[in-house]
């Protein structure tokens, strides 16, 4: 649903959502499925803002990418950040039935649906995989045959978010191609990539420039910028490399 606001006030603003389900993805990462009566639907790649209010009126607000594909209730996948304000609550305290305020969906540029074509190269750093997962889930739900590859950088095999579901998405014809790199520790017998994403890794994994692929890169700022400039160095036109930077504070 496209925005139709001009310089007027929309009624889109904060609304109360109920956590209807929580899913522990990894020891530090959790998905919260939300129910919000006013939710207008969303596109893959969009995010929503969460606002928490303490009894003394203190408020903290952060943005989280939507993990669920269009058509499903909004779900966010949150990584617990040390020293975070909001993530420790969402990952450690919140339980099904709790209510939080949300605002969204937000985003008109870092979005994809099959009609926008491909091939796609999705590159995620840690929890940067979240909006890319919404895209991958949408692609699977619509049985799209747009060629798509996901390169996911994680600290260790235990830290890979959506690990099993990604393996399932990779199965079958027109499956998502999934490439992992594990930067801090690797399981016994690991034969995959074991370093931070750099230009040479991208050269091996990303579509060649001639494929005219659309890239979506998401994660911490330093990661995104290294990958984006790496793709441009490989010949990707800058306008075909879309980026979303996460903050380091949660």
């Amino acid at each position: 649903m496209a925005g139709t606001a001009v310089l007027g006030r929309l009624t889109t603003g904060w609304q109360v959502a109920e956590a209807v389900d929580v899913v522990e993805e990894t020891p530090r990462v959790r998905t919260v499925v939300l129910s919000a009566p006013g939710w207008p639907g969303h596109r893959a790649g969009q995010h929503l803002d969460v606002r928490l209010t303490a009894p003394d009126g203190y408020q903290a607000q952060r943005s989280y990418s939507i993990a669920s594909p269009p058509g499903e209730p909004p779900a966010i996948t949150v990584e617990w950040l040390e020293d975070g304000e909001v993530s420790p609550y969402l990952v450690g305290e919140l339980r099904a039935g709790d209510r939080i305020e949300i605002r969204g969906p937000i985003g008109g540029w870092f979005v994809w649906e099959p009609a926008l074509g491909g091939p796609l190269i999705l590159v995620g750093g840690g929890s940067g995989v979240v909006p890319l997962m919404a895209m991958a889930r949408l692609r699977a739900a619509e049985r799209s045959d747009v060629p798509a590859r996901l390169l996911l950088s994680s600290r260790s095999w235990e830290d890979v978010i959506y690990r099993d579901e990604l393996a399932a998405l990779a199965d079958g014809p027109d499956g998502l191609e999934v490439v992992h790199t594990l930067t801090r520790s690797q399981p016994e017998g690991w034969s995959g990539y074991a370093r931070r994403v750099d230009e040479s890794l991208l050269r091996e994994v990303a579509w060649p420039a001639e494929a005219r692929a659309q890239a979506f890169v998401c994660g911490p700022t330093a990661f995104v910028e290294t990958v984006a400039s790496g793709l441009v160095a490989l010949g990707y036109p800058p306008e075909r490399v879309k980026t979303e930077r996460f903050g380091a504070t949660g």
Partner: protein, 200 residues
């Protein structure tokens, strides 16, 4: 709408010493870095501090500035984003010292900085020992991320007034809202009266 999130307590405030933490603030051990732009990197050989708007401008090079009488002060600082830090130790030149070099009858100042940031203050908020241009923090030269080589330090007001990378003061007859004061933040910013936004 008074909506509270079950189980969310925000930052802890019970360990605050009596009367030291303004309303709505919480204590921090760290020193959060907040920035509206990239960290400027003016080489010291090019750095100058100017007080303009008086009869004649006064300007100091870095070496001249370092030769001015300096003070070490221990102050509490309060950021409008809710964190407060007690007993921070700074070294710098009192703004009183700088204003003595200029003949003026201004009522307001506008601090201007590398990177374009500005903030406005009434003269009485930067005089009589209330403000410094600080170049040392915690016994070390002020880190660029925290405003080095020098920043304005006005601890009795919210910390957005303590402009990082300050390069001078412009003396004015009328108050001229600075970067944030022209976009919602309070013209004066007294944390004890919780003057965060316009209309507070």
């Amino acid at each position: 709408m008074s909506f509270f999130t079950r189980g969310f307590e925000g930052r802890r405030r019970d360990d605050a010493p009596e009367g030291r933490v303004p309303p709505g603030q919480y204590l921090t051990e760290g020193f959060p870095v907040l920035s509206a732009g990239p960290t400027p990197r003016t080489p010291l050989e090019q750095w100058t501090f100017t007080v303009e708007g008086g009869a004649e401008p006064a300007r100091w090079t870095w070496d001249e500035f370092q030769a001015l009488p300096r003070e070490s002060v221990t102050v509490d600082i309060h950021c409008v984003t809710r964190w407060s830090k007690l007993d921070t130790v700074w070294e710098g030149v009192s703004v009183d010292t700088l204003l003595e070099a200029v003949d003026h009858d201004a009522a307001y100042v506008l601090a201007f900085c590398d990177g374009g940031y500005t903030t406005n203050l009434p003269l009485e908020d930067v005089t009589d020992g209330k403000a410094w241009v600080a170049f040392g923090y915690d016994g070390e030269p002020l880190d660029p991320e925290h405003g080095g080589p020098a920043r304005l330090l006005v601890p009795h007001l919210y910390f957005w007034k303590s402009a990082k990378w300050v390069r001078g003061l412009r003396l004015l007859d009328d108050d001229e809202p600075g970067f944030w004061e022209s976009n919602g933040y309070h013209l004066r910013g007294d944390p004890w009266r919780e003057q965060r936004y316009w209309g507070d």
